[in-house]
């Protein structure tokens, strides 16, 4: 049997596929799988495990959408993307949604013609110090030496921040990530600055003694990370938005992947609406009646997703706690 027909089939079927046929929602349903753009390697957000299964907070956002649409969180094709490619991949229709630690900004929203979903992680540039330094707030850092990676926006914002407060600092600039880490833990600078999620994983993995270091509570830049879809496809944007929203709502209501089945049968009308005992919500979105039930059962509520992925990095909830617990997460009511 000649392999040629299969080669041709692979070449034509595997490589060339129609992307935009009508709305994204229709295309996704027709394809039977969600194509989701993710990062190749960001600890806790998106990376393959040893068996090649994708894991991370961004990855679970894709899974939640697939669970809501298909009732199966496994129906996702992950497309690893580079920072420069990610928007082109979305615009060209190669992917249906982008869930790749992407900061929601005005220019991206308006100029790049994207629609962002709810913020899934409030990140921001922060500071890490050795506890021995005896510093608890960034305001005490006048005159400190600061380790920072060169050529990044991080370098700019740290110098802006110090200048705006009339404080002085001595930058220790390196362009190699590993060298920078070694320099900090060898005590060549007092402070390490980068995004707080990054600081947490560096503290956890590079220091050897995570308890000796402190990530200060101050944030000097805002990096709200959110999933994005193409502009002008409102139905699809709604599906993504609400698939994420119900994960947060579930945490507010105390619904977890473990107890979601029994909660569905409880007398609480709010739970009945959310979990599909009263059938109007899924219908309004064009989704199955049990859309939220499946998303929560298969992926877990936001707190579970956070613990599973960012817990191992030792990153506390901080701004990413529920609004009832001092954080910023506030689910728009599903009713």
């Amino acid at each position: 049997m000649s392999p040629l027909p299969f080669v041709l089939a692979a070449a034509l079927g595997g490589f060339v596929a129609p992307a935009l046929a009508g709305t994204t929602f229709d295309a996704v349903k027709q394809r039977g799988a969600l194509r989701c753009g993710v990062n190749v390697s960001v600890p806790g957000f998106s990376s393959p495990d040893s068996q090649g299964h994708w894991q991370g907070l961004d990855v679970d956002v894709c899974r939640a959408v697939a669970a809501a649409v298909f009732g199966d969180a496994g129906k996702v094709e992950f497309v690893p993307l580079n920072a420069q490619q990610r928007f082109a991949a979305l615009q060209s229709g190669e992917i249906d949604m982008l869930s790749r630690n992407t900061t929601w900004t005005l220019t991206r929203d308006a100029e790049l013609k994207l629609d962002f979903g709810p913020v899934v992680f409030f990140d921001g540039q922060g500071f890490m110090v050795a506890k021995a330094l005896g510093v608890s707030r960034a305001g005490q850092l006048d005159g400190a030496s600061v380790c920072v990676q060169s050529g990044t926006s991080t370098e700019q914002s740290v110098s802006d921040w110090f200048r705006a407060r009339g404080m002085s600092f001595r930058p220790v600039v390196m362009d190699n990530f590993d060298e920078l880490n070694k320099a900090f833990f060898a005590g060549r600078c007092d402070v390490y600055t980068t995004d707080r999620s990054g600081l947490a994983s560096i503290r956890m993995t590079m220091s050897g003694k995570p308890d000796d270091y402190l990530i200060l509570p101050d944030m000097i830049s805002k990096e709200p990370l959110a999933p994005a879809v193409r502009h002008g496809d409102q139905d699809w944007a709604d599906v993504v938005r609400w698939s994420v929203m119900v994960l947060i709502e579930a945490e507010e209501l105390g619904v977890t992947s473990a107890n979601v089945a029994e909660k569905r049968d409880s007398a609480d009308p709010a739970l009945g609406r959310l979990l599909g005992r009263t059938p109007d919500l899924g219908q309004a979105l064009g989704l199955p009646q049990d859309w939220a039930f499946q998303a929560i059962r298969q992926v877990g509520n936001y707190g579970e997703v956070y613990q599973r992925n960012l817990g191992p990095l030792g990153l506390d909830r901080g701004l990413n706690a529920l609004w009832t617990q001092g954080g910023l997460l506030y689910a728009i009511p599903a009713r």
Partner: protein, 324 residues
């Protein structure tokens, strides 16, 4: 033999100290099995990380149960290079056969082999696939370009020369970006050319320019008498090229061609910037596991070893080919 001087002794001592430290890190204090916590507790290298991640690094996201197919594709590529040394005339069509075989093996969907979508191909097989299609696909184009640049027709000369200079004036990174980012936007709406196919195409177009110049070097080394002798024997231009000129020119150009092939093999690691899951991307991906953070040195050493062994094999094959 001259008497050792103080400096020699000092250099030897330093070397010994460095060797001892390296031995301590890489062997004596190294962790060979266990989890990340065991590695962090020890002071040496964490080879347990490689033990945990070698499959991901070598085969990327290819389904674990089917990875024997990916391994077989790698073996086929190595065997192909060895076969080319033995049967020199095998490569012009052989590389196409190899590519078809590798594709069929990786894609599956026949004879009970489960189908594996292109998006899941990765690691070393992908690196080799890119190299083979880059060099193999580049060679025929390079031959035409080299001949075109030496043509008597000004238009041909201009076109070939212009193409070569244009491509050589652009870094590979930007060519890959063009392929990954611009191709999809330029295609008619509704069609997506796969990332793999467009990257293979871009690599072949890029490598061709360099191969062409190496072949032109070979062509220029052929004495004019050879052309005249062929003509005197009544050969037509095409026949003379195919049987007299090109075989000699390619033999002369062989060291340079081998160099370009090895360069291409390593340059494929640049696809890391377009998110294609080659050996380098897979290595980076292995570093992102929250449970196994902080072993980049070990991971990159492993990747360097794989690249090193294969580059060295290619260079060995090239030298054998020259001897024959």
């Amino acid at each position: 033999m001259r008497r050792p001087r103080p400096f020699d002794v000092l250099a030897l001592l330093l070397l010994a100290a460095a060797g001892w430290a390296l031995w301590g890190w890489a062997v004596r204090e190294a962790v060979w099995a266990g989890d990340a916590a065991a590695c962090r507790a020890a002071g040496g290298a964490c080879w347990a990380f490689i033990g945990e991640k070698w499959r991901l690094m070598l085969f990327g996201l290819y389904p674990p149960a089917e990875q024997w197919r990916a391994a077989l594709a790698v073996l086929l590529s190595v065997a192909f290079v060895a076969a080319c040394v033995r049967w020199r005339r095998a490569w012009p069509l052989g590389w196409l056969g190899l590519l078809a075989l590798d594709y069929a093996l990786l894609a599956g969907g026949f004879l009970g082999l489960s189908a594996v979508p292109v998006a899941q191909w990765g690691g070393l097989p992908l690196t080799l696939l890119l190299t083979v299609s880059g060099v193999g696909g580049g060679l025929p184009l390079a031959l035409l370009l080299a001949l075109g640049r030496r043509s008597r027709l000004p238009l041909l000369r201009l076109l070939a020369g212009g193409y070569i200079e244009l491509i050589r004036g652009v870094p590979l990174v930007s060519v890959l970006f063009m392929a990954a980012v611009m191709f999809p936007l330029l295609l008619p709406p509704g069609w997506v050319l796969g990332k793999l196919l467009s990257t293979q195409l871009a690599l072949a177009l890029f490598v061709a320019a360099y191969l062409a110049e190496a072949i032109r070097g070979g062509l220029q080394a052929i004495a004019y008498g050879q052309y005249e002798a062929a003509a005197a024997l009544g050969m037509r231009h095409g026949t003379a090229l195919a049987t007299v000129i090109l075989p000699q020119a390619l033999r002369i150009a062989l060291p340079a061609l081998t160099g370009i092939a090895i360069g291409t093999f390593k340059d494929t690691s640049l696809v890391v910037i377009i998110g294609l899951f080659d050996l380098m991307t897979a290595t980076r991906a292995a570093l992102g596991d929250p449970r196994w953070l902080g072993f980049s040195l070990e991971a990159y050493l492993f990747a360097a070893l794989v690249y090193g062994v294969l580059s060295w094999s290619l260079s060995l094959a090239g030298r054998q080919l020259e001897k024959r």
